[in-house]
Structures are given as C-alpha cells and as structure tokens.
C-alpha cells in the first residue's frame, strides 16, 4: 500500500502477530469502497462507503473520500484518452454526491466542496472502528444522466479514499497510520503503491444513438491537483489531517 511501509518492513522487526495480520488480514475483498458500485442513470441512490479493515491492528478513526470533479479529471473512452469535457458524456455529475448525516460510526463529518460549494467529497471521523469489523459511511448519489446524444454505455468514476488510523503529518504516513485506496501514479502524498481506487459506475438505460454500435465505456479519474486540494480534511478552513 504505502512505499514507506515497504522500506519499514524490510528493516524493522515486526511482531509476528502484526505480520500475520498484514499478510492474511488484508485482501482485495476488504478494500474500502461503495457498497453499491453500479447504479442506473437517472436514479437517486442511497449508498455507503464500506470500510473494510483497519491499518494492521490499528483501528480506523476517520475516512476521507474524494470523487473526481470532472473539471480537470482524466477521461478515457474505451481506454483511450479523451480531450473533451465530461459534459460530452454526463450532463450533471457536478455536486452529484452528498454526505448523509449519520453518527452511527463517526461522530464528526462534513462535505468537501469546490469554490462554488459543489460537493466533491466528504470526511467522517471521531470514533474508533475496531480493526476487525467493517464500517458504513452513508452518502447519496443524485440522479446522474448520461448525455443521450453520446455513445457512452457506462461512465465509471474512480473514488479516492484514505482510511486514517492515526493523525500524522505526511511524513508519518505508513501502513499502521493510514490506508490509501487511491491511484498510484499521481505523484501525490496520498498515492497508493498500486492502483487501489474503488469506483461508482453509472450505467445507461436510455437507447444509444444508432450510430454508436454497442457503445463505449467511459472512465473518469481525479487529477493530482484535485487530490492534493481535496484529500486533506479541513474544518472551517483549518486542516485537521494531515497535520
């Protein structure tokens, strides 16, 4: 997950129990991501970010979630770069996701917004999720509409998430303090070692234009600039995480 951890693993004598936990306690199915990863267009959907596990034996005390804003995001069409706008494929992704207030897991929570108050992510924290249990952080996606004149049969949005087990500065990021479910190639402090984003896919229900054939699959990934701006947790303008 984290490059620094790899070095630490090489040169530090970990307790056996921690090593066993890291080896067998983390697997693909435990990745943090949305409970419902595929939704139909034009359908408002209540959902949860499911936190799969802690940082080794350390409990998760907060989570930071960022959706690609579609402004400077990387867009691909059937794997090929698209230089146009997200509006070529989706009419209304901006501000599509809202945090649902819930204190069942974390006491404190708020949305992350852009300069126009559109929600681009959210965070929650303040309690401790036992490392062996899963946790739900609820949110809602409004009715997203795929541009009917486009050939998009689906639009997949990569979600970047940091599960925080200890509040540290960037230098303190390691396998015991934070789990990154993010891209690996953005060259931000929040990169995972390998691509580990979860995703939310909007599936088209309207008819494709006849010229489209079977349609194309669109993917949207956040920019490094957005991750650097939106991944930190701020309260009333003051940054809480990282320190």
């Amino acid at each position: 997950m984290n490059t620094k951890f790899k070095f630490k693993l090489k040169f530090t004598a970990f307790p056996i129990i921690a090593l066993v936990s890291l080896t067998f306690g983390q697997n693909v199915s435990a990745h943090t991501g949305p409970e419902i990863s595929q939704i139909n267009e034009n359908t408002r959907t209540s959902n949860n970010i499911v936190i799969g596990h802690g940082c080794g034996d350390n409990s998760v005390i907060g989570t930071s979630v960022v959706f690609p804003d579609g402004v400077d995001s990387t867009i691909t069409v059937d794997g090929q770069p698209h230089t146009g706008s997200l509006l070529d494929f989706v009419q209304n992704w901006t501000n599509a996701n809202q945090k649902i207030y819930d204190r069942g897991l974390f006491t404190y929570q708020d949305e992350k917004t852009d300069s126009n108050s559109n929600v681009v992510g959210f965070w929650a924290g303040g309690e401790s999720l036992p490392h062996n249990l899963i946790g739900f952080v609820p949110f809602r996606t409004s009715a997203v509409i795929i541009e009917p004149t486009s050939c998009a049969k689906s639009v997949k949005f990569h979600i970047s998430i940091a599960d925080i087990c200890e509040i540290t500065d960037v230098a303190g990021f390691n396998e015991t303090t934070v789990n990154f479910w993010t891209l690996s190639t953005l060259e931000t402090p929040y990169d995972a070692d390998t691509d580990a984003t979860s995703s939310l896919t909007i599936n088209r229900t309207s008819a494709l234009p006849s010229s489209c054939g079977t349609g194309v699959a669109v993917e949207v990934k956040p920019s490094a600039a957005q991750i650097n701006r939106d991944m930190p947790i701020k309260m009333n303008g003051s940054q809480v995480w990282p320190k």
Binding site: W93, Y108, G126, S142, I164, N236, G237, S238
Partner: protein
C-alpha cells in the same frame, strides 16, 4: 487523538460562520447570496443545472423557480432568472428591489432531466438575492430536485 483534535477545531469553528457564498447543493432554495460583491461587473452571471428526477413521488413534468432581490433599489439595476432546457426557455425579473417580495414563479415544462438556470443582472452593482426552485409532477407534487453550480462569476 482524532477526538481531541476535532473537538479543538469544533470549538474554534463555532466562531466561524459556515454559510457558503455560492449556491448550496442540497436545499431547494438559497438565501442572501451576493452577486458581484465588488460591484464592478456588468457581466456577472451565475449558472447552475437542476436535475429533475423521480424520487418516488412521480416523474417530473416541470421546473418552477423564482428570485428575490433584497438589495436597496438602484435605477437600472435589477436581477433576472432564466430557465432553459432543450429548445424551451423562460425568464423572470424581480422588478421591485428590496421589498422582500419574490418575483412570481416561472414554470418550464421540460419533463424530467437536466435544466439550466441562469441568474444575472442588468448593470454593475452588488445584489443580494434569494432564489427557490422545485421540480414538480404534472399534478404539482414535488419530486426529485438536485442542483450543481457551474459558474458564479
């Protein structure tokens, strides 16, 4: 540690107003938004999209909206609101500024889907305004209404 840090920031945060200056995404109305705060722009324009969908109350048939200019009257300075979708559009102006009365609602019968809403004004000068918007079914039942802001400058 998190708990302590959050509490610290919450205490500090109580002294800070949390209201945004632009359009809030979750409500169907906003209050006390300032357009052209510097008072120097003749071209200031707010642009938002509103998604009308079936939230269980029925398919949307129309979008209604209204605007209220809360600033003191200035000759030649009025606020406008326009709605458009596809090849249909409608607009309304609050012709009396500062009287605490909304303009009448305007209705655009565009069915379900994405509508655009524009707010602008007739001249340079700061304007504090409110707007309301709601998606309704054919029988006037409120249904799924969501908004995103594309521009406010």
């Amino acid at each position: 540690m998190w708990h302590i840090t959050i509490q610290k920031f919450l205490r500090l945060g109580l002294m800070v107003a949390t209201a945004g200056y632009a359009i809030s995404g979750s409500a169907h109305g906003i209050d006390n938004i300032t357009m052209d705060a510097a008072g120097t722009s003749r071209t200031f324009t707010g642009l938002a999209f509103i998604t009308c969908s079936n939230d269980g109350n029925g398919e949307a048939e129309n979008l209604i909206a209204r605007i209220r200019d809360k600033s003191a009257p200035v000759d030649g300075l009025l606020v406008n609101l326009q709605l458009y979708k596809g090849n249909k559009a409608v607009s309304i102006t609050d012709t009396v500024s500062g009287d605490n009365e909304y303009s009448p609602y305007v209705t655009l019968h565009g069915g379900s889907g994405t509508y655009w809403m524009i707010v602008n004004k007739t001249d340079a000068g700061a304007r504090v305004f409110d707007i309301e918007w709601h998606c309704n079914t054919l029988t006037g039942v409120h249904t799924g209404t969501d908004i995103g802001v594309a521009q406010f400058e």
